[in-house]
Every structure is written in C-alpha cells, then in structure tokens.
Symmetry: C2
Subunit: 308 residues, 2 copies
C-alpha cells in the first residue's frame, strides 16, 4: 500500500468525502503521476498509452460498487492535463467519486484540466461525484478547468453531482450531455466563490431520445469580489422534459450572471427554466442573530443550508 | 383632412386598434412620407431636418392624451428607415400608439426599420403601444426591424406593449432600456409566427437607479415551420427588482429558443426569471372539442386566450 503524505491526506478528506481507501477499484493521481492504483472484479483501470489519463472499464455485473479516482496537485507552477474515459457497460450500477484538490504554497499558478468522457450503455445507473478544492498560502493561483462529456444510451440514469466549495481561484467548466430514449439526467451543481475568484460554468444538454428527461439544479453563493457566470442550455430534439433551476445568493461586491437557454426543436419538447439571484434571506439572518449567533456564523449557517 | 385609400384604412385597423383619427396629435407615415399630421396643445410633432423621422415633444401638462403615429407601407420593394425621438417632459402622462403595417403584393421585399428613442423626464407616465402586421399576396417578404431605446428618469413609469400577430416574414427587434431611481418598467410582448417566418427579440434592461423595477412578460406562439429566438437580459446595477417571464407554445414543426439573462451586479439586486416552452394544453383542447369545436377553432381559442 502506498504511503500518503499529510498534504495529500488532508486534501483527500475534502475531495473524497466517502473516504479514500486503497481498496477495490481506485486510482490516485498525484502531480501528474499515478501514485497508487487498484482494480476490482468488475472494474478495471487501464493507463492510456497515447496521452495522459486512464480508461475505466465498468462491466455489466457491477452492482452499486464505488470507484475512487481523486487527483491531488501540490507542486506549485504545475499544469496537469488528463483524459479519463469511462466505459460503462449495459446494466451496470456504479458510483464514481472523482475530484481534484490543489495545494499551492508557491508563486506560480497550479492548474488541472480534467477531460472526462462517459460512454454509458443501455439500462445503466451512474452517479458521478466531483469535488473541487483549493488550499495553500502561495500567491500562485489554483486553477481547475474540467471538461465533462456524457453520452447516455437508452433507459439509463446519470446523476452528476459537482461541488466547488472553496479555494479555487479560477474555474471554467464545460459540460456536454446527450440523452438517448427514456434516459434520465439529474444534475446538482454547487458553487461558492470568494476573494477575487472567477467561476464560469457552461452546460449543454441535448435531449435526443424520445421520453428523455433532465433536471438541472444549480445553487451558488458569490462572496466578496468574486464573479460567476452560468450558461446552462437544454435542447429538446424529441418528446422530452427538462427543468433547469439556478439560484444564487450574492454578498458583498460579488456579481452573478445567469444565462440559461431553453431550445425546443420538437413539438413535444417541454422545457422549463427558473432562475433567481438575490441577497441572503434577511428574516432568517435576524432569527439566527436573535438566538445569539454572530453575523458571520448566522450567514454561514444560511449558506450551508442553501447549498445542501 | 387627407383622404386615405382602402389598403391604408385596412392596415390602420390592425395596427391602431384604438382607431386612427386625424385629430389631436398624429402623424401618418405612408411609403416614407408624412401623409397627414397634426399637433395638439401639449404635443408637437416636428419633422427632422437631418434624417427621415420626427421629433415628438410632449409637455409636462399632458395628462393622459393619446398620440398616434402609425406607419403604412404598401409599395413593394421599398425600404423605409425612420428615426423617431420622443421628448417626454417631467410629469407628463401620455399614451403613444405606434405600429407598422406592410401590405406587399409584389415580388420584391418591403422593409421598415423604425428607430425609436424615448427620453422620459422625472415623474412621467408613458404607455407605448406598437402593433406590427403584414398582409398582401406577393412573394416579396414583409420585414420589420424595430430598434427601441428608452431612457427613464427618476420616479417615472414606462409601459411597453408590443404585438406582432401575423404576416411579418422576418423581424429582428432590439430593445434597450435604462431605468433611473424608483422608476418602473412594464413590458408585455406578444408574438405569433407562422409559415416560414423568423422572429428574433433582443432586450437589455439596465436597472441603474435605486428602487427601480422591471417586469417583463413575453408570450409567444410559433406555428408551422416558423422560428423564434428570445434574448431578454436584466442587469441589476443597484438595489432593484426584476422579473422576467417568457412562455411559448410550439406547434407543428416550429422551433423556439429562449435565452434569458439575469445579471446581478449589486448586493441588493433581486432578479428572477422564469421560462417555459411547451405544446398547446391538451386538456383544454379536448374540452373545447367535446363542446363541438373543430380542432383548428379550438386551437385558435386557446392561442388567443394565451396571448391575451
């Protein structure tokens, strides 16, 4: 079993809440190299030969197993680009726990660009969790630019659960999803920015298959001088249902821009969007403060409740 | 009093529902020329000297008066570009009825591009109604590209009521609004497209003044092979409230794309957006059909109710 240093262990606690163990199927990428790796009976992880990254093969017998593939960067000035492909067989049920943490104590920027592609067979059920986190005292920025492509075949369910809670100076997320017949997508995106952080999230969901559906929920809090831009788009190419909901809280001098797009190209496409941006709920704040909480404590309680 | 031919009279019925009369303040533009024109005690219309168009001066004593400025185009192959500026004094209360109708029996396209600018003083109340309509049996297209700029000073109310019900082959609307302190904007946009028509509506509302508010409601029906694109944007630059609501019905092979944008640049900006695209309500349809209505009749009843 590989020894993990303290910085790596600390980061893993944030990005892998379920607890990272060197058991079953797992792959820990550390400063661009696989630090440790394991396969299970149903899940095989194979290093790519033509470019950095791994192929993850999840067979159709997989029944609720977890695969953990965290990424830790603690070298300042390092840029890591990685391509991970997930091959999910018909009928597989799997929980994939990814995530990236950057600890940067230096002057130079550290950056991780993860390109994740999911090829989901028929009748599968996939949950993909991705936590992003930054730490360290250096002036160098912590930058995360994930690209996620998801191709969902008929009768499958895909749950995409992403979270960026703190320490990431700059992020640009690109997410692209295609849905087959009777397939379902659930997206829950959580984002908090502070300081001078910038976050941008672009998402395009193409409901191609008859009876497909998508539910996209985005919750964000922007503090201090930070800025956020959201551009989720749902394109209805068949008889389908989509519901996008974006809610943001702004604080201090923060700015949030939300540009959802709904695009109905089929008579039986039903697409709904709701978005709201506003300040923290004053009534809740007063209630908590009269219970004896300090302003900051009360704010944190409300923000946490809002994001969870 | 100027004689109006039958085509002009027929078009006026559509674009000026209140009834066009050569009384009070009015200006009828016909194929690029003022056909008739009148002033009232409080409202003066002056022909521009440097470019086509008129300046409309509405004094602060104006109290609920209507001014009618319709545009009729019945020459095929004619492109008319006009600049109309509305100077609305502090405290004025006025109802402006504009609108453009194109009757095209020819092979060449007919086009009207109206650039309307509103300079609204303090404490004023302005209602601006604009109906767009196309008719005629020619193959030449009926094209309307209005540009509307509205600058609203403190404590004023502006109601923008636009409607494009039928016969316009191509339209691209550009609307820009700036709101001062405690000013209010109400927008009601109605749009129906059919055949191979294309309609695009871009709107940017800047809530600059403290206490300003905007309510934007857009209702549209897209039939047959027509297409519609909406891009309304609300930018909160101060303590303000904005609510955007876009609802569309698609029928046949029509496509609707809705890209609302909410942009909060101030801690106390509260902005909400809702959008929905879907097919005609089946339950209502069945109810009306069981009452003996034909499918088309029933659809028309539902569409009219939805747009009104």
């Amino acid at each position: 079993m590989a020894e993990l240093d303290k910085v790596t262990q600390a980061i893993l606690k944030y990005i892998d809440e379920a607890g990272f163990k060197q058991e079953g199927a797992f792959n820990l990428r550390h400063n661009g190299m696989a630090l440790c790796h394991g396969d299970s009976e149903h899940i095989k992880i194979v290093k790519k030969k033509d470019k950095p990254g791994i192929d993850i093969y999840i067979d159709s017998e997989t029944n609720g197993e977890e695969v953990h593939i965290p990424v830790v960067l603690d070298a300042s000035g390092f840029t890591d680009k990685v391509y991970n492909d997930f091959h999910i067989a018909d009928g597989a049920k799997v929980v994939i726990i990814a995530g990236c943490g950057i600890h940067n104590d230096g002057h130079a920027d550290s950056q991780h660009d993860g390109v994740h592609s999911f090829f989901v067979g028929k009748g599968a059920n996939v949950t993909y969790r991705e936590n992003h986190y930054g730490a360290g005292d250096g002036e160098g920025a912590r930058i995360l630019n994930p690209v996620t492509e998801i191709f969902i075949d008929d009768d499958s369910v895909f749950t995409l659960d992403t979270s960026q809670i703190r320490g990431v100076d700059s992020t640009k997320r690109e997410t692209y999803v295609e849905l087959g017949k009777n397939s379902k997508l659930f997206v829950m995106e959580k984002l908090m920015t502070h300081g001078n952080q910038m976050a941008e999230s672009n998402m395009e969901v193409r409901l191609n298959g008859e009876g497909s559906s998508a539910q996209i929920i985005s919750r964000s809090v922007a503090k201090e001088n930070s800025g956020q831009i959201f551009h989720p788009a749902a394109v209805g190419n068949s008889k389908c249902n989509a519901h996008i909901q974006c809610d943001s809280i702004i604080m201090d001098k923060a700015q949030v821009r939300s540009i959802p797009e709904i695009n109905a190209k089929h008579l039986d496409a039903a697409i709904i969007h709701e978005a709201a941006i506003g300040r923290i709920n004053d009534e809740q704040l007063i209630k908590l403060r009269t219970m004896g909480m300090k302003a900051e404590e009360a704010e944190n309680v409300i923000i946490e409740a809002f994001l969870n």
